[in-house]
Symmetry: C2
Subunit: 395 residues, 2 copies
């Protein structure tokens, strides 16, 4: 027989950000003269750092000579990058993650979308609400049931480990959080690790925004928690810490210690990588390596500072105007309450039509996001300032 | 509950080419002084064409300035590349494939591995034997049954449409073929399209090697056959026609006309792309565009001619030495019979140990590949010549 995967019927017809893009496109078609400011999708606006550009140029040059040309990358990533990540992201923070526990990919989104394949169809999945849509959509497409864990303002938008149940399941966590901007302390994250170890669950920890942490006491990696190697997978991105949204680079850590009924998830992921993937481009892995050089670190740090200056501006301006806002301290996202009784999409339409500012409706991230709205700090400073003055003048 | 995807137990522990890489590594460790010549994996050896390098350099430069920086690509690919492909690969050959029926990706291997997700778990799958392992492995990992269609020398290594059965199923075809190098005529391919239309089957047509066709009467695309838009998906690669093995770029064509019980596979693939993928890098899509420029066409043509000169040399030398060889005329692969009663892996070991030449054992591509051996034309000319003299002197 031949049949389509009917699980696709369980996801909404469009990916959230595709829907927003279509709404903007329609508005622009009707109002070609309006100047739209986009604080919606989390795309960066600063150009690539000089150290990254210079690494790209050298690597492109290597690809032009027979002696230095490189074809297929190693499926799991070049050693030079895996070693650098191991040393600078993990060993330096006391986490024993070896280079061969790090899998280089073309981005955190792909890894997040594909990791669920390692689990059986009837695995239970626990996901925060509100949440980055990929965790939910990729599992719905595979026909799994999802247990949504509400993240409410009164608890700092943190989910409660008890909400994932007492049976073994697959738990998705993201801190600093997209979309709420909430951060988690080491003690709070340790409770999750302890819970996973106790119930036999696996945590997929999305640490894409760790570079935005300003509070030195907060954990950058789940492996800073005791016992995490036996129950956690961590996903990281170069998109937000170094502006690689258009270059595509990320990685996933699966410790060798992590096993389910004796089966190594590390080995399964290696098998998947070698079968359905062909490695990230050499020139882009070299660009990734440059992010960790002394110049690269300094330059990307100053990009993050630039965006966090936007975050501060958004937070303080909206607060002064009487809005209720959270996030934005250890994350590039500001999570605001919509004014009055406006729904998230009503506020989206209002902002687009009256202020020509684009944000992301909180309800697009889940039912608990209704009545909230996400703004990103990734815009240009002057434009962000202008957007805020338009929002404030709306009231 | 939490369980691993036990379908992974149905695939061999290692991907074929990973096994070969491990064997070579072990041999090199024991014999560090030996000069190994690799005619195994289909990786190219010539550097990127000047037109491609120049496009990469310009695009990298754009990424270094705020005014020209580009972040997230459109999920489905940049219009400039989709339009170029539509015009130059399809419209020019009389195939009506619109730009929005073309999905840009980071390589044919990923698309080939992921396309099966659009189909239900109990979809029947028909695959050639011998075959590129990804078709089989990706379906085994999803728990599907595979019906292998034998491709035997007496029938020019072409499968018989009747072998896929009379029920609707998912059929994988690859021409010019990897690993046998066999080509298909337009008339023979039309039989497959007619068969698919009659049975309600879908063909996934892997045309990664179309650039190696020298016989002008052979089809480069399945859409040259009548009715193919209603039953066929086509996958293409920049790896072999322009040396992008280390850059990663490919595309998949899904015509809007292709529906299963009213469901559009085009829309499903768009939903998958936007959920689990984030677009190919801008700089690499610009490099892909340059392949179609007049200089790009000329330069990549001369690369293909270089490799086909190797193919001719391999064919004629082995024939003269009494070997039975096929392929190599419209494909960069030469498919040879192992001498005497040697199995494919025995011949692999013999060549590695006695001649330090690496090829690919035919049995690695399926049971019908036993007793055969694949050599690739992607080596350097002088090294290919040296490898042949070592092989010939073995006898």
């Amino acid at each position: 027989m031949l049949q389509t995967n009917t699980n696709y019927l369980g996801v909404s017809e469009n990916y959230l950000f595709s829907t927003i893009a279509q709404k903007i496109k329609a508005y622009v078609a009707d109002h070609p003269d309006r100047d739209i400011i986009r604080l919606g999708i989390g795309d960066v606006t600063l150009p690539l750092a000089p150290a990254v550009i210079s690494a790209l140029q050298s690597a492109v040059d290597e690809q032009s000579h027979q002696e230095t040309f490189r074809g297929y990358s190693p499926d799991l990533g070049y050693d030079f990058l895996r070693r650098t990540i191991s040393e600078q992201d993990y060993m330096s923070r006391g986490c024993r993650i070896d280079p061969d526990e790090i899998f280089i990919s073309d981005g955190a989104k792909c890894d997040i979308g594909n990791l669920q394949e390692l689990f059986s169809e009837n695995t239970d999945v626990a996901i925060c609400d509100p949440v980055y849509p990929v965790y939910a959509d990729s599992n719905l497409m595979a026909g799994r049931n999802i247990n949504y864990m509400p993240c409410r303002e009164e608890f700092g938008f943190l989910p409660d480990p008890a909400a994932s149940g007492s049976d073994p399941c697959l738990i998705y966590l993201c801190f600093p959080n997209n979309p709420t901007g909430a951060a988690i302390t080491k003690g709070e994250l340790q409770l999750w690790v302890d819970h996973a170890l106790k119930t036999g669950s696996v945590i997929i920890y999305d640490a894409a925004y760790e570079a935005y942490i300003s509070d030195p006491s907060l954990p950058h990696s789940i492996y800073e928690c005791k016992g995490a190697e036996a129950c956690s997978i961590e996903v990281r991105s170069f998109s937000k810490n170094a502006g690689f949204t258009g270059l595509r680079l990320g990685f996933t850590v699966i410790p060798k210690e992590l096993r389910i009924n004796g089966t190594s998830l590390h080995d399964m992921w290696a098998r998947r990588h070698s079968t359905k993937y062909n490695g990230a481009p050499y020139i882009i892995q070299r660009a990734g390596e440059a992010v960790y050089s002394p110049e690269g670190r300094k330059q990307t740090r100053s990009q993050i500072d630039y965006y966090m200056r936007n975050a501060n501006l958004i937070m303080s301006t909206l607060k002064d105007a009487g809005y209720s806002v959270t996030g934005g301290l250890n994350a590039p996202y500001i999570w605001m309450k919509t004014p009055g009784t406006l729904s998230s999409w009503e506020f989206f339409d209002l902002l687009l039509e009256k202020a020509q500012v684009v944000g992301t409706p909180g309800s697009g991230f889940g039912a608990c996001g209704e009545g909230y709205f996400r703004l990103t700090a990734f815009g240009e400073y002057e434009k962000t300032k202008e957007a805020l003055s338009r929002i404030v003048n709306l009231i």
